[in-house]
Symmetry: C2
Subunit: 157 residues, 2 copies
DNA sequence: CTGCAAGTTAAACCATGGTTCAACTCAAGG
DNA sequence: CCTTGAGTTGAACCATGGTTTAACTTGCAG
């Protein structure tokens, strides 16, 4: 009975809406078997993948990068705790770099407040030399979403 | 001659594309007079507003919030350095809060790497109690965009 | 006065991360 | 067998922050 999960069950257990799960599947982040009637059935390992996805999103990683990371997991055997830890360590480094940049940004802002500049050209903030991430649009940083624990809606009405 | 700027001039001096400047105007972030022929002419104070906009974006503030902040500037007189400083101080506090949350996130991630959990429910990361920002989609954090200094393109070819 | 660069508009498009909808189909209980 | 809830699909839609394009108009130099 607990062999595989329906999309509704995975949604309930993970707190992620079915529409989002289908979206993740479309992007290649998770996988599902199909029943004879074409319905999704998830292996329980997918629960862990979903957890990894949500945690990574918290860290500010894009779904595309998360996909790449998940692709790097061993295909043949079930990922171990240290497989997951390896991925998390990479995220940790990104997070550290991000914190470093934000801290620098704050310090620059502090000196800007002091000098009252805001006059293009001279301002450190205005002409940042860092240029780390970027990537055009994308790379949202969420830092927790407001109340979406037990919602996991499946069409209202 | 240096009384007002055309959109091309403002674009060149600020490094912001004309299309973006029109977009900012549409959102009510900047203003422009019009010539008899309907072309925009910017007062030089707009340069400073654009600088404030770009700096605020670096800090991770949305255009809507930036608009609200700019609206709070005195309408009758030209904003002084301390007017700008007041706004910047608010951003600084946000930045600090953001840094605090990111640091907590990193520490949580550290302990997660150690315990190898990633098992929904138990995980601090997965069930964040912070819930500060959020606001659904939006609130991009850019931390510097890769090479876009002297581009300010005005239709290629 | 001509000619060209730079300006104008609205509307369409891009990416990201999804949600919502219409129109069905499946699975399981009674 | 029939109903009902849950599942299926593709397409359209939302927000954010813009860019691109088409089709014209202005402004200025020569």
């Amino acid at each position: 009975m607990h062999e595989s999960l329906t999309i509704g069950q995975l949604s309930d257990r993970s707190g992620v809406a079915p529409s989002a799960l289908r979206y993740y599947e479309r992007l290649g982040l998770i996988r599902a078997e199909r029943t004879g009637g074409n319905q999704r059935r998830y292996a329980r390992v997918e629960l862990r993948r979903v957890a990894f996805i949500r945690i990574s999103q918290q860290v500010g990683i894009s779904l595309e990068e998360i996909r790449a990371a998940l692709d790097s997991l061993p295909a043949s055997r079930t990922p171990t705790a240290s497989d997951w830890a390896r991925l998390s360590t990479t995220w940790r480094e990104r997070l550290n770099e991000r914190i470093r940049l934000m801290t620098k940004l704050r310090d620059d802002l502090d000196s800007c407040i002091g000098c009252g500049c805001l006059s293009l050209q001279r301002c450190t903030l205005y002409n940042p030399g860092d240029t780390l991430a970027g990537e055009g649009p994308g790379a949202r940083l969420m830092l927790s979403r407001a109340g979406d624990e037990a919602e996991a809606g499946v069409t209202p009405s």
